[in-house]
């Protein structure tokens, strides 16, 4: 069976093909790439406000509102799902004052992850940190009291080929928390 098609001259065919490529390129460069990946070579995407999806401003707003939530819910347990992508590490930290306590329970959806539970002093620029626990586990429960004010939390490293989800439940005296 010979498939029916449109019949065009070579010149017209070329014209239509060229148009489809140019149209696709313009749409990609001005709309799709800025919105999807924050790649904005022309600046038009930003001018139209399409880069908001990847804007750090937005993320900040989200943290502020979750911060208010956690202050309101002080003393209540909070559960956070953290996805550790394949072959990479993720830091999740809680901002806490000195001598405050955090109780926690975290578990993965199966595989064990290397982790380093540690704290970094507030205002430190030397990169100093103090580790409270280092191991490779798929579950851990416990608590710690902060030796200094700063950010305290976990670094999880996933060496497998698939993303691992860590479900973290915490209860304690922290002001903000988030990925770092």
């Amino acid at each position: 069976m010979q498939q029916q098609t449109i019949v065009l001259t070579k010149a017209t065919l070329f014209k239509y093909t060229l148009f489809s490529i140019i149209f696709a390129a313009i749409t990609l460069l001005t709309i799709i790439l800025p919105a999807e990946y924050n790649i904005d070579p022309t600046g038009i995407g930003h001018a139209m406000g399409l880069t908001v999806f990847n804007n750090s401003e937005v993320e900040k707003n989200v943290t502020t509102s979750s911060q208010k939530m956690s202050e309101k819910n002080k003393g209540l347990a909070e559960t956070i799902d953290i996805i550790v992508p394949a072959h990479s590490g993720v830091e999740y930290k809680f901002t806490m004052q000195q001598h405050k306590k955090l109780s926690y329970l975290w578990l993965t959806n199966g595989s064990a992850l290397y982790f380093d539970l540690h704290g970094e002093p507030e205002g430190d620029t030397t990169g100093y940190f103090e580790s409270y626990a280092i191991a490779t586990l798929n579950r851990m429960e416990g608590s710690f009291t902060t030796p200094f004010a700063g950010v305290h939390g976990w670094y999880w490293k996933n060496t497998s080929d698939t993303p691992v989800t860590v479900q973290l439940t915490v209860k304690g005296d922290f002001s903000t928390h988030g990925l770092k």
Binding site: T5, L8, L13, T17, F19, S20, L28, I32, T162, P163
Partner: protein, 232 residues
């Protein structure tokens, strides 16, 4: 006047579709609820997997674009059935094979190839291959090949969830049947609309520009997915 009735039915269907589409269309991604289900699922779950398969097909816009291209000049029921079977064959083979033998292909590359399939079909409908090479490539073979790629893409995405071995084969078959059900549903809508449109003068007037835009959409999909591949 049955024609008038048909027209109303079609209009309301199109309208309904347009209402639902923007919320639910997300190409080959898997939405959060499905993700949660896949991550926690155990044992044989025929109906849920059937549903995920069907939903994947009905809401995948790249696949829908390819179908529009394939069906644009096909109207005999026999031909439609033949093409769908070729696609199903290719798709089922690689999906089952991919998951069972744990083969992972980069999802961005697969989706870029699906974009290429849209470009190919648009160009083919414009008579491009005939004009340049004297004849179109074997369309049935092309559909089979793109079916094979499509199956690999799905296999890769399903494997990301580390599906438990318990009931895996039954779940995969259910998923595959769901894909076919979804495909028939999507096909029915697209056929209905194209066949209706074919009766009007505007079909011929806009056939060229429609296929040109189809090709352009294919290029966009390719650019979008290839960029994703290079930055990740």
């Amino acid at each position: 006047m049955p024609n008038r009735l048909q027209q109303y039915c079609l209009l309301s269907l199109t309208f309904l579709f347009a209402l639902v589409l923007p919320i639910e269309v997300f190409a080959h991604g898997v939405d959060d609820n499905t993700r949660a289900f896949l991550a926690q699922n155990t044992g044989i779950q025929i109906i849920p997997f059937l549903y995920i398969g069907a939903k994947h097909m009905v809401t995948g816009y790249d696949h829908l674009l390819f179908l529009v291209g394939v069906l644009f000049f096909l109207y005999r029921g026999r031909d439609v059935l033949l093409y769908v079977s070729m696609f199903t064959l290719g798709h089922s083979l690689t999906l089952l094979f991919g998951v069972i033998s744990d083969i992972q292909v980069n999802a961005y590359l697969i989706d870029a190839i699906i974009g290429l399939s849209v470009v190919y079909k648009g160009f083919d409908n414009l008579g491009g291959f005939k004009q340049l090479f004297g004849k179109s490539p074997n369309a049935k073979l092309a559909v089979l090949i793109f079916g094979l790629f499509h199956g690999f893409g799905l296999a890769t995405k399903l494997q990301e969830f580390q599906l438990p071995a318990d009931g895996l084969i039954a779940n995969l078959i259910a998923f595959n049947i769901g894909v076919e059900l979804g495909q028939f549903t999507a096909l029915a809508f697209i056929l209905l609309m194209i066949n209706f449109w074919r009766k009007h003068r505007s079909f011929n007037l806009f056939a060229t520009s429609t296929n040109c835009l189809l090709m352009s959409a294919g290029f966009m999909l390719m650019g979008f997915q290839l960029t994703g591949y290079f930055i990740n």
